[in-house]
């Protein structure tokens, strides 16, 4: 099983931006595209959220919930293949989990 680790701060931006590209730089939409590229080459991705200046909920929702809503991944597959970690702020993990579950509910509705 091929696993890779990426750091949001180091491999994307220390200043994550808004939800979509049209709203500003370093958007959740752009990060989601990065995740999709990485998922093509790995079975499991571990995303480290530490080291940024702060992440908005819409960024996280677009980046992770968007994998279900927009990229067609199954929610269970995202939860299995995309592991998120944050040593400093565990509330991000709650937000991301809720985003994926919400996206699953919308997909099945």
């Amino acid at each position: 099983m091929r696993e890779i680790a990426i750091s949001l701060a180091r491999d994307f931006s220390r200043h994550p931006g808004p939800r979509t590209n049209s709203q500003g730089r370093n958007s959740g939409e752009r990060f989601r595209r990065l995740l999709v590229e990485k998922l093509k080459n790995a079975d499991v991705i571990t995303v480290d959220l530490d080291g940024t200046s702060g992440i908005g909920s819409s960024f996280l929702d677009e980046a992770f919930g968007g994998l279900v809503r927009r990229e067609g991944f199954l929610a269970d597959e995202v939860l299995r293949r995309v592991r998120v970690k944050s040593e400093l702020d565990e509330s991000y993990l709650v937000t991301i989990h809720d985003s994926i579950v919400r996206a699953k509910s919308l997909a099945t509705a």
Partner: protein
């Protein structure tokens, strides 16, 4: 004297009593018997010192956790203020700056809440008790902080084209108050 041994030795004029006195052996300072009477007092004193130490440690820990809780409540207030300003700011560089500040304050709040949860998590014995009864295991407001972040930075928070918006202010304030109350309630459950 009691303890003396008298030996009557017969002699030409009758029996001659010889008294053999066994003197008490002088006690050496290395003998435990010298100190035995003091042992109960020493045990009581050590027990008292240990109890005082434990109570002092508990008091210091309560004070430390109280300071952490007050820190989290302070961070909630700062995040609430920053998010309110960001929602009310007119479009432009001031809003971008306010949004950046909001996310930074929310992250600081999340970090402090995470630290508080980790430092107040109870040990194995309480985890066993928790299987049978619902008890407070730590001061944990991580879920509430996540909901606070969702509420405070939900769309269209970062939309540069949105107008100044005060519709979220009361919800943000209510969520901040809920976090305050939860921190107090859980702290009192752990350290009353």
């Amino acid at each position: 004297m009691p303890g003396d041994t008298i030996i009557n030795v017969p002699g030409p004029a009758g029996a001659y009593p010889y008294i053999i006195q066994l003197l008490a052996k002088p006690q050496e300072w290395t003998e435990p018997g010298v100190y035995a009477p003091a042992i109960p007092g020493i045990v009581v004193a050590l027990l008292g010192l240990w109890i005082a130490h434990k109570l002092s440690v508990r008091r210091d820990r309560r004070k430390e956790i109280l300071e952490l809780c007050e820190g989290v409540k302070g961070a909630v207030g700062e995040a609430e203020k920053a998010c309110t300003l960001a929602w009310l700011a007119p479009a432009g560089p001031d809003r971008l700056s306010a949004i950046h500040e909001s996310k930074s304050k929310l992250q600081m709040l999340g970090i402090m809440a995470t630290d508080l949860h980790r430092r107040t998590t109870r040990g194995f014995v309480f985890r066993v008790f928790n299987l049978f009864a619902d008890i407070v295991m730590s001061v944990n407001v991580i879920g509430e902080v996540a909901r606070f972040r969702d509420m405070a930075t939900s769309d269209p928070f970062e939309d540069p084209d949105r107008p100044s918006d005060d519709s979220h202010i009361s919800d943000i304030a209510a969520m901040a108050a809920e976090i305050h109350a939860r921190v107090n309630q859980q702290f009192n459950s752990l350290y009353r």
